[in-house]
C-alpha cells in the first residue's frame, strides 16, 4: 500500500530499465520475455565440430533478425575447394539460381581480383582452401532477415585462408551475398561440393537487432 492508500501499478519492465526486487521466477519470466537486463547479446546457438562429412546443417535459428556465423580451421579433403552456404525452408533446399554473390579477394603474391555471379546456386562461407598441413580457412558471416518471409536473405563475410597452389598462398576475401526468394528460412546448410571436410563452426544470434 502506498501513500494515501493507493496501490501502485507494477512498473513497466524493459531491457536496461528494470525496477523492483526480483525472485528467481521473476528473472526467468522477464528473461524469456526479453525484458530483463542481462548483458551478453551475442548469443551462442550451437557449435559443431565437423569432421568426416561433406555437409552439415544448423536448423535452430531462434528468433533473431541478425545471425553471426564463425568458421574456424576449415579444411577440405579436395584441394582448392570451399565451404558453401544454402538455405532450407520447410524441408526444401533452395538449390536453384536464387543466389547472387560478390567478393573481392587478394593474395600475398599480389593478385587481387573480383569473384561475382548473378545466377549462383550457393553463397560462400570460405574460399579456395588447400588440403595440406596448416592450409586452413577462418571466416565470419553476418546473416540478415533469414526468418522474414517478406525480405531477401542478405549475407556479408570476411575470410582469411591459406589457399591451394604451387606453394602455400595466403588469401583474404570479403564480400556479400543475397538469396532473392522472399521466404522464411529455417535451416542453414554448409557443404563442400566435392568431398568431406573438417571445421569448427559456431552460429550465434544477435539479440535486439
Amino acid at each position: 500500500m502506498s501513500e494515501y492508500g493507493y496501490i501502485p501499478e507494477a512498473p513497466e519492465q524493459s531491457f536496461g530499465n528494470n525496477k523492483g526486487i526480483f525472485n528467481p521466477k521473476d528473472i526467468y519470466d522477464l528473461t524469456r520475455a526479453d525484458k530483463y537486463t542481462n548483458y551478453g547479446q551475442l548469443e551462442l546457438i550451437e557449435t559443431q565440430n565437423i569432421t568426416g562429412v561433406s555437409s552439415t546443417t544448423f536448423s535452430n535459428l531462434g528468433d533473431y533478425n541478425v545471425h553471426f556465423l564463425t568458421v574456424n580451421d576449415f579444411q577440405p579433403i579436395q584441394n582448392g575447394t570451399d565451404l558453401r552456404i544454402r538455405f532450407i525452408s520447410n524441408g526444401t533446399e533452395y538449390t536453384g539460381s536464387f543466389y547472387q554473390r560478390a567478393l573481392q579477394y587478394g593474395t600475398n603474391g599480389g593478385t587481387f581480383a573480383e569473384e561475382k555471379s548473378t545466377t549462383g546456386t550457393y553463397l560462400r562461407a570460405t574460399f579456395n582452401t588447400g588440403n595440406a598441413t596448416n592450409e586452413k580457412t577462418s571466416s565470419y558471416t553476418y546473416f540478415y532477415n533469414l526468418l522474414d518471409n517478406t525480405k531477401y536473405n542478405f549475407t556479408s563475410h570476411q575470410i582469411s585462408n591459406i589457399g591451394a597452389g604451387s606453394h602455400p598462398e595466403f588469401y583474404m576475401a570479403f564480400g556479400s551475398g543475397v538469396q532473392t526468394s522472399a521466404v522464411s528460412m529455417d535451416t542453414i546448410k554448409l557443404y563442400n561440393a566435392y568431398n568431406n571436410y573438417e571445421a569448427d563452426i559456431s552460429l550465434y544470434g544477435i539479440r535486439y537487432s
Partner: protein, 169 residues
C-alpha cells in the same frame, strides 16, 4: 551466457528522412558494433552515417571514407571521399533492402579521431534484382566526443529501418 557484445539501445522508423540513435556512445566502451536492417526504397541509393555530438549532428567537412562497391552484375568500383559532411557509401539500397554492420572505434574519446569499418549487403532492384555489397573504411577527422549516430540516405526516405547499437567489452 555473458558474452562481450552488450546491447545499449536501438532506434527504428517506418518512413523517415533520417534516423538518429542518440546517447549511445559513452566512456564505458571504446569499440561499438552497430547492426542496421532496412527495407528497400526506390531512390535511397547510398546510405550515409554522421556523428552526433554536444553541438548536434556534425555536418562539417570532417568525414573521410574509402569504399569498394561490389555488385554481382558489374565491375567493382573504388570510391574515395574526403572533406565530406558524412561517411558516404557505408551501404547501398535501391528497392531491395539492405543489412549493414558497422564497427566504430573511439567515438566518445575527445582526444582521438573516430574510425569506422562497415560492410553491407543490399539489393538493387532495377530490371531484376541485383546484389550490391559495400565495404567501407572511414575516419571522422576531428577530436570530439561523439555521442550518437545519424543515418541518412542520399535521397528519399528510409523505410522500416532498425538500428541497434552494442558495446564491445
Amino acid at each position: 551466457m555473458a558474452t562481450n557484445l552488450q546491447f545499449i539501445k536501438s532506434a527504428s522508423g517506418t518512413s523517415v528522412s533520417s534516423l538518429s540513435v542518440t546517447d549511445c556512445f559513452s566512456s564505458e566502451y571504446d569499440v561499438y558494433n552497430v547492426n542496421l536492417i532496412m527495407d528497400g526504397s526506390t531512390t535511397n541509393k547510398d546510405i550515409r552515417l554522421q556523428y552526433i555530438y554536444s553541438g548536434g549532428t556534425d555536418t562539417t567537412a570532417n568525414y573521410v571514407t574509402a569504399a569498394l562497391f561490389q555488385g554481382s552484375y558489374t565491375g567493382f568500383i573504388e570510391l574515395r571521399y574526403s572533406g565530406q559532411s558524412s561517411h558516404l557509401v557505408t551501404g547501398y539500397n535501391y528497392d531491395g533492402g539492405t543489412g549493414i554492420n558497422y564497427t566504430i572505434f573511439n567515438p566518445n574519446d575527445s582526444s582521438s579521431y573516430t574510425f569506422l569499418n562497415s560492410q553491407s549487403s543490399g539489393a538493387y532492384n532495377s530490371s531484376g534484382v541485383k546484389l550490391v555489397g559495400t565495404k567501407a573504411i572511414g575516419v571522422h577527422q576531428v577530436t570530439q566526443a561523439n555521442t550518437g549516430i545519424n543515418i541518412v540516405p542520399s535521397t528519399s526516405t528510409l523505410e522500416n529501418i532498425k538500428v541497434s547499437v552494442y558495446g564491445v567489452k
